[in-house]
Structures are given as C-alpha cells and as structure tokens.
C-alpha cells in the first residue's frame, strides 16, 4: 500500500530520468519492494517465508531449465537419461538433479510454514482474503507441478504415482474413466503420459510465477499484515521495505541456503524414496508404495475412507482429499472473529496448535503402511481436520472473549521491550 508517508521515487541520473519517462519499471520495483513500500516494524521471522518461497521457485525454474537440456522424455530413455546421463555424465549433473529434487521439498516446506503463519496470525482475514485465495491457488498449482515432476525420472514411484493420481478421476461417475484415459493418453502410463507431463511440468511453474505476481499485488493493496493483527496507524508503525526487510529477508535466505546445502550435499536421498531408483515396471507395484512426504497428510485423508456410505468409498476418499484443500478457500468466511492474530485469541490459539498436531499425525499416517490401527487413526484425524474448519473455528469465533488488543503496532513493540508509556507517547506525537 502506498501510505501517505511512503518515500517517492526520484531518479537522479539522466539515464534513469529518461527511462522513468518512457517505461517507469524502476519506479514500479521501488514502490513494490524498495523504500517506497512501508512495512510494519514488528514482523517476526515467520514473515520471511514468502520471500523464501519465491527464492525456492526461482531455484526450481533455473535448475529445471538446465535439467530439461539433458532429459529424454520417453518411456525407454527417461530413467537412463536421469540416473546415468545426468547423474554420472553431465558436468555437475548430480548437483543439479539433487538440487532440483530437494528444492521441491524445500519449496513445500516453506509453503507449509507460510500457510500455517497465515492461519495463526489471521492473514486470511479482511482485507486480505484475495491474498489468501491466490495463495491456495498457488498451493494447488505447486502440488500439480511437483507431482508431474516426480513422474519424469520414470522410476517405480514415478510410474505408480502417475497411475494412482490419474486414477483419482476414475472415481467421478460417468465421465471419470474417460478423463483418466484422456490424461494418460492411453490405458496405462506410457510414452504419451510422460511426454505431456514433461510439457506441463515445464509450463506450470510459469503459471505459478504469474499467480505469485498477482499474490504480491493483492498483498500490496492493503499492505503487509503483522503479528499483532492491528492495522498500521501511522508512520511510526512502519519502516521502508528496503533496506530493513531486504536485509532481514536476506539473512533468512542465507539460513535457507545452509539447510538446502546440507540436504543436497549430505542427505540428498533422505527425503526421497529408494524405489524410485528402480526403473518403472508396469506389471508390478512396489509393496511399500508411498507418495512424497509433502503429500502424506492428503494421502492419509484419501485412504481414511474404506466403507461405502451413500456414494462409493473411492469417491468419498477423492472428494475428501480435494475437499481438505478446497475448504481453505472458504476459511475467510468461516472465521467470523474480528481479531486477526491468535496471540489475542486464547481459544483459537489452542485450536490452531491442535490442528498442527492433527496435520502431523495425518502426515505420519500417510507415510505408514495401511494397517488397521493406522486406518483408524487416519479416520479420526481426518474427521478432526474437517471439524476444525467447519465446526470448531466458526463456533470459537462467536464464543471467544479476545484479550485486549494493543492500541498500535508501536505500543505493542514498546510494551514487549519494556518501554514506558511516556516514550511511546513521545514517539507517536
């Protein structure tokens, strides 16, 4: 948002003046992420994760384009081009491949933290509903992209993942079978499937990039939220994005890169599945097939439905799995509480942490074999997941007595630092 006290772009060099009159791109950047964008002064490290997601996206696009230069998208050649060509022969190919594979895990990790940040601090509430909606769209696109990328090496997990995930659509009555055949371009995953997934895996990141631009645009209309959930009241509540948050985000990116490097260099296969080092075999499904870790919670919800009830269990599972994400689209209207931040919402804060534990339990179940105990646990955890959004949050938002909010961001900051009211009054005067 352009607060009245936002700094104004003033080109000094003749070239920049000339450019500003013809195409004011530097002015645009200055107002978006430069000193022209005032940001609340009290953002904590959870506000780093938007930038980290952006960095992860750029890492994936760059390593992806390079890997595409060495990849053969055919059922006969894909596995070898990845596991022999890229890993052994291409210069630094092993590094690029591991960076891209673990980059997906890093991407999803920061996105999950980013989303839970939004859930805790009420970032989805008015006037930021559109930011949240676009974020859910980006999340869906990211999952589709990650899925299609995982198919490309054409290992066992790739092949059977493609079979199962396109199989979701067969649960749809009447047209379902046709949709799966259309998606696969045949009756089982084969050349046609691999080729189109390669094409779409290349396309979707650029769609994500476009959605990210809209996401940032939508955020900059109301301006960034903050941990108190109290809106900016005046200049004393904000600092210019540059250099204050470019520096803080830069530090976050450094930590991100350290973690990323540890993964690539010391545990490149820790998050992957060993069976994807076996070439795809259309006649045999591995006994211990599980999806990538970032799909585990949703996979657990899919598997939780084992009995027919009005509609077939298979359709229930698919509807519930997609529903668990689609429900996020309605969150801004399910949570009626006018208070944004969970710091001032004692009941919601408990519900939030129970949800975090619930999603971790779902994740654990999704990664385990479907034994009766795991299935029952998934059923309970799935039920709680939906209850959280459809029952608990709407009820809490009506019953809860929130704690008193600070009068301003600055007051909250000074109270935390033990500053006196006098200093605060002096500052805001």
């Amino acid at each position: 948002m352009s607060f009245p006290w936002a700094k104004h772009y003033e080109p000094k060099q003749p070239l920049m003046k000339w450019l500003d009159e013809k195409l004011p791109l530097p002015r645009f950047v200055y107002n978006a992420v430069g000193a022209g964008y005032p940001v609340p002064r009290n953002l904590n490290y959870f506000w780093n994760f938007g930038v980290l997601a952006g960095v992860a996206l750029v890492c994936q696009i760059v390593t992806g384009i390079v890997l595409a230069m060495h990849f053969h998208s055919s059922a006969a050649g894909a596995f070898e081009s990845v596991n022999v060509g890229i890993m052994r022969d291409v210069n630094a190919g092993w590094f690029l491949r591991f960076a891209h594979a673990n980059g997906a895990s890093m991407f999803l990790t920061v996105i999950y933290i980013h989303m839970f940040r939004g859930l805790y601090y009420g970032s989805y509430k008015a006037p930021r509903e559109m930011v949240w909606l676009l974020g859910v769209v980006i999340f869906l696109l990211t999952m589709a992209t990650a899925f299609m990328g995982y198919v490309l090496p054409w290992g066992q997990m790739s092949f059977w993942g493609a079979q199962v995930i396109t199989g979701f659509f067969t649960a749809v009555p009447v047209v379902g079978e046709w949709v799966q055949v259309w998606l696969l371009g045949g009756y089982a995953p084969d050349d046609a499937t691999l080729n189109r997934f390669f094409s779409l895996h290349y396309l979707l990141p650029f769609v994500i990039l476009g959605a990210v631009i809209l996401h940032i645009w939508a955020l900059h209309i109301p301006g960034s939220g903050n941990p108190t959930g109290v809106e900016v009241k005046g200049e004393q509540d904000t600092v210019p994005f540059h250099p204050y948050y470019t520096a803080k985000d830069g530090f976050g990116v450094g930590v991100f890169m350290i973690v990323f490097s540890i993964l690539i260099f010391y545990a490149p296969d820790y998050l992957g599945h060993a069976d994807n080092y076996i070439a795809a075999n259309p006649l045999s499904t591995p006994a211990h097939i599980v999806p990538e870790w970032y799909f585990w919670p949703f996979y657990a919800i899919l598997r939780a439905f084992t009995a027919d009830f009005i509609i077939a269990a298979k359709l229930w599972g698919v509807v519930a799995m997609f529903g668990s994400i689609l429900i996020l689209f309605f969150l801004p209207w399910l949570d009626k509480s006018p208070v944004r931040s969970a710091s001032y919402r004692p009941m919601y804060r408990i519900a939030f942490w129970v949800l975090v534990v619930d999603v971790l339990i779902l994740g654990y179940c999704g990664g385990s074999a479907a034994t009766p105990g795991i299935v029952i646990t998934s059923q309970l955890a799935s039920a709680y997941y939906f209850a959280h959004f459809l029952i608990i949050v709407p009820i809490i938002s009506r019953l809860e007595q929130p704690k008193p909010l600070p009068n301003s961001i600055t007051e909250a900051v000074l109270a935390k630092k033990g500053g006196s009211q006098v200093t605060e009054t002096a500052l805001s005067a």
Partner: protein
C-alpha cells in the same frame, strides 16, 4: 425513432443487435472449433488405439499357480484355481458382496478353474499382490493391493478396502484346451 451515429434514422434498430449476436456467435463457434483439437489431441493416438488381442499359452500353469501377462500394456492375471479355492469362492453368499458376482459369472463354462482378470486394482489402478510366488494374498486368499489395502478373494472379488468393484474380467475365449485369446 432511433438515430444511428451517422445521423440516419433507423427503421428497425433491432437488426443491428442481431448483427452483434451473429458476430459474437461466429466468434464463439470459431473459438470452440479451435479448442476441440487442442483437447482431443490428448486422447489416445492412433498407434495406442491399434491394440490387438493377446494369445496366452496356459499349459504350464499348475493348479494353485498364476502368471502375469501383459494385455494392452496393463497386467493380466491368469490363475489356475485349486479345488479348495473354488470351494472357498462358492461358499460365499454372492448377494452379500459389494459387487455381487459368483465364480460362475466370472469364469467360462466348464473352465471354472481358470480365473482370468485384469491385474489392475479397481480402486486407483495398482497391481495387486498375489500372482507371484510367495506374495501376500491378503486375508481372503486371493489378491491384496498394497497401495490402499484392498483385499480380493479367491474369485478376485472385492471383500475389504476402498476398491469399488471386483477385478475386471476382460473379454476372452479358449481357442483350445491350453490357449486363451484375450481381447
């Protein structure tokens, strides 16, 4: 009275609205005609559709054994049932099943021991275990799908788990005592 931008008096101004509808309709049809091949190009191509039948020699399959063949790039289970397995399948009351079928419905007359099904779990398409030697055949002694825990009985019927129907029996016929043509 309606005056056109040029100053002409239009006797029937709705004729211009008609032109508008006509132009937009033609554009919509044109756009649709372009979208159609874009979508249709992803349907199975001619070489994929040119799938013939598969001939399988079953002479080497002893009772109690099964083989995995490939039919239309998908696995096909050919099992020679033992007398005990047939008895177990007959013992079940078919009307109590999720997908009610008897062993008769699923085999050819006089060839009740030959259970020929697609090796594709009807849930989300994994290959169930049980055709290979020593594989987990699940609680009902038929097939067990490792992906989401669907269990099939000795007639390949769904008994437990999320799969909605029995393993699909493709079209096939015995051309001799030892040769089956599938498809």
């Amino acid at each position: 009275m309606t005056i056109a931008p040029g100053g002409d008096v239009l006797e029937n101004p709705r004729r211009r609205d008609y032109l508008n509808y006509a132009a937009v309709s033609v554009a919509a049809v044109g756009a649709g005609v372009v979208v159609l091949p874009l979508v249709n190009s992803m349907n199975p191509s001619a070489d994929v559709l040119a799938l013939s039948s598969t001939e399988i020699d079953v002479s080497a399959i002893e009772p109690g054994q099964a083989i995995k063949a490939s039919f239309r790039k998908q696995p096909l289970f050919v099992r020679n049932l033992t007398a005990a397995e047939i008895a177990e399948a007959d013992k079940v009351d078919a009307s109590s099943l999720r997908d009610p079928q008897t062993l008769e419905d699923r085999t050819k007359e006089g060839k009740r021991n030959w259970l020929i099904t697609m090796g594709v779990c009807t849930h989300l398409g994994c290959v169930p275990l049980g055709a290979g030697e020593g594989e987990n055949r699940g609680p009902f002694g038929g097939y067990f799908c490792p992906c989401h825990g669907s269990a099939y009985d000795t007639a390949g019927r769904i008994r437990q788990g999320p799969a909605p129907t029995n393993l699909v029996v493709p079209e096939y016929e015995f051309t001799s005592d030892t040769v089956v043509v599938v498809g």
